[in-house]
Amino acid sequence: MQGNVEVVKNSNHAVKKGLQYYFDQLGMVIILFLLCVAMAIFAPHFLEVNNALNVLKQLSFTAILAAGMTIVILTGGIDLSVGSIVALSGVISVLSLNHGVNPIIAILLGIAVGIVAGFINGYLTAVPKLPSFIVTLGSMTYLRGLALVISGGYPMVLTNSTFKFLGAGSILGIPTPIYIMSLIYLIMFFVLKYTMFGRHVYAIGGNEEAARLTGIKVEKTLIKVYTISGLLAGLTGVVLAGRLFSGQPTAGMEYELQAIAAVILGGTSFVGGFGRIQGTLIGVLIIAVLNNGLTLLNVDSYWQKVVTGAVIVAAVLLDRLRTKR
């Protein structure tokens, strides 16, 4: 009999809910702004152009991962493997480079590593319907293991200038990774808003069963989502190798957690279906400004970890409060 009973909300409520949604987004912008103001007052050099560029360059790596993480979380899933993909991609591209492979091919190889790893994640999540948490927890471990096996556990030094340009170069005084990150976010914005794939991501996240009944190919879409996340992690691995002048098997450690925290801070709900790529960018900025400010304030790096961790918990708490409404 309860099937006959629907909770009827009036349209006023809907409008209010809509405003609430924008306020949530705005809320994060305000927090970011206040954080910047505080840092500007208390932290020396925070407002300097060099520092700003430095912050952006540093955040661009997790930012690219967070872009992929956003679409994964929008479908109601999670991708814990991106940090390990970063390492494996870096190691394999540098290894192939050192074996005389053309730099462009080496870069593509690194990205391909991400695509393959992501595809496997996606397939296992979509078709045998394993929980994405388990699937990517596993791949996080075995991909990191592979990176260690292939490199023998040591950083592999890189001398190629193309790579260095990608990770540590700059155009018109602005570091290359910032361009790459901006391009990714621009593309992701259009993909999510203006392509069928993007809208299907939202539909699946909102109601997977309804999506299936609506003729949406849920499995294919999910595989694409994880593949994209893997691709972006592969790209990050290559760029990071260029910045570190080496392919490091321990690179990207805990990047997945920073990316997840940024996505949640940016207003994307773990429940799936709710969230925006713009929000993720704000989330990434909040974490980066926080870290940068704490460094400038000479806060002990151990304490920085404590603060960052607390921010992650606060993010989940925010998410809970949001979905409760």
């Binding site: 009999m1 409008v15 809208r199 309804a210 009944l213």
Partner: protein, 516 residues
């Protein structure tokens, strides 16, 4: 259809001279302004089997859940063992001797039979305060043997057949030393011999003075084991009495005797359209819940599908739409054999499906009204791979106007709409693919009467335009108001096909309850 009115015992009648063990007086209950129970009275006596009858949605489940402490009443009072009670939760009701055997099995498959039976009681402990497993299994065994079951309490529930699980459910209900035992369709998944065993148990419980509330759609069972009956219809108690005062025909009349009232009555087709080629034809189709079923659907007709819960109506729709595999037989569309494996296949053939549960299967709760409308047809709104919102806005406006969806703006979140308007949004989504065949599963469930009429008018209009419509509904007045023909299903098969003109609620209920 006439059933012998012999009784297993007369304990129930004797008990009538005493005070009822439970008396529910003037019970009313609403869920967000929908009155589900309205001034219902019911008395239960020690040692009686009380048949609770009513159509789908008459309020039986709600009444049952009130007895068992799941729901609280809005008005009225419950007198139990001479005192007014108000259960805080199901545990409190159970501790006071009220147990329920639910229609759906609610065991933990990962645990042993013994654990399941004693789950929810205070588990026996040993001296160290740890769970005493020997004691659990010993107690469970005693209960199992008392109902004539030979199952071992150590066995894992996941290894049991549905019928065996049902026995465990019964054993569990008995472990609480119930004074009132509510059984909701307990025989639905039992074989004949198991049913006999269950009836023996019921007779035994009656002897022990347990009051049994028995919910079933099977007339023969009702007349075999019940002492008294009560009939609910649209949330009202319409009749109560001893079982020898009634007969199956009379009970059916009591259950369905509803005024058609304000429902929109469509003028049914009188032409001989069934001599044309059917647009959809099923030949001996078997699938999950559907047994070698054959049917035809013609362009421009509304084919109603009636039947009780579990008769296979939704399963039929799911098989046609590619949601459950067809294991036998074939489907023809416009004379050509087709093979539908998935919803997207079905959509390619021009088949649309408005699912049973709007909330779980229909709506995207995170998206706007307009996106909910166009989601099935997004491909046609893209140019060079990009979605053109201008086109979407235009079409969404049209659908909103055509179906009379009441919205503040098409950008608003779909969950802000009333049930009726949400349903129109789901229907609009399916009309956007311009289907030839529209499968509707409970199209007006949880919809107010105004929106209901509008939806009926929309469906009629579509049929007039030549669309073939198959409509599953549990509401007989609705089926009768719009259907040109009516399939009545029973246990996965078509019991009969009635023309809309000749059909009555009584005839439908007769075939739906297994009449031949």
């Amino acid at each position: 259809m006439q059933t012998t009115l012999t009784k297993e015992s007369n304990v129930g009648k004797l008990a009538l001279n005493t005070k009822p063990i439970m008396s529910m007086e003037s019970i009313s209950k609403s869920f967000s302004n929908v009155k589900v129970l309205n001034d219902v009275n019911i008395q239960l006596y020690k040692g009686e089997v009380h048949a609770l009858m009513g159509e789908n949605g008459a309020g039986k489940s709600t009444l049952m859940k009130i007895m068992a402490g799941v729901h609280r009443i809005d008005q009225g009072k419950i007198i139990y063992r001479g005192q007014e009670v108000q259960w805080a939760n199901p545990m409190e009701a159970r501790d006071n001797g009220i147990s329920v055997i639910h229609q759906e099995i609610s065991l933990s498959p990962n645990l042993s039979i013994g654990e399941n039976i004693l789950m929810g009681t205070n588990l026996p402990k040993n001296k160290l305060g740890l769970v005493n497993w020997n004691e659990i299994h010993a107690r469970a065994e005693i209960i199992l043997r008392s109902i004539g079951s030979t199952l071992s309490p150590h066995e894992s529930v996941s290894n049991l057949s549905i019928a065996q699980q049902q026995m465990v459910e019964i054993a569990r209900a008995l472990s609480f030393n119930s004074e009132i035992l509510i059984m909701d369709e307990p025989t639905a998944s039992l074989t004949d011999t198991e049913i006999e065993k269950l009836f023996d148990i019921i007779a035994d419980l009656k002897q022990k003075g347990v009051a049994i509330v028995y919910i079933s759609h099977r007339m023969d069972e009702i007349f075999r084991i019940s002492d008294r009956f009560s009939v609910l219809r649209d949330g009202h108690g319409v009749a109560t009495g001893t079982i020898d005062q009634t007969n199956p025909d009379h009970l059916v009349k009591l259950m369905v005797g509803r005024e058609v009232g304000d429902l929109f009555q469509r003028s049914l087709r009188v032409d001989d359209y069934q001599s044309q080629q059917p647009i959809l034809e099923l030949n001996n189709v078997s699938s999950k819940g559907v047994k070698s079923l054959s049917m035809q659907l013609y362009p421009g007709e509304i084919l109603g599908v009636a039947g009780l819960v579990g008769a296979g109506r939704t399963e039929l729709v799911r098989a046609i739409f590619g949601l459950s595999a067809i294991t036998e037989g074939g489907v023809w569309m416009e004379g050509k054999k087709i093979n539908i494996q998935s919803p997207s296949d079905a959509m390619k053939y021009g088949i649309a499906h408005v699912p049973e549960s709007r909330k779980e299967q229909g709506l995207f709760p995170n998206l706007s009204v307009k996106e909910n409308i166009v989601m099935a047809e997004l491909a046609s709104y893209q140019k060079k791979g990009f979605i053109r919102y201008k086109l979407i806005n235009h079409d969404a406006d049209q659908f909103i106007e055509r179906l009379g969806v009441k919205v503040a703006t098409k950008e608003q979140n779909v969950m802000g709409l009333s049930g009726g308007n949400q349903q129109k949004v789901v229907i609009a989504r399916w009309l956007s693919i311009k289907p030839k065949i529209l499968l509707l599963d409970e199209p007006t469930r949880g919809v107010d009467i105004g929106a209901k009429t509008q939806i009926h008018q929309i469906i009629s209009q579509l049929a007039e335009e030549g669309m073939a419509i198959l409509m599953v509904s549990s509401e007989l007045p609705e089926v009768l108001a719009v259907s040109d023909r009516i399939l009545v299903m029973h246990e996965g098969k078509i019991a009969t096909t009635l023309s809309g003109k000749e059909a009555t609620q009584e005839k439908i209920m007769y075939y739906a309850t297994g009449g031949k």
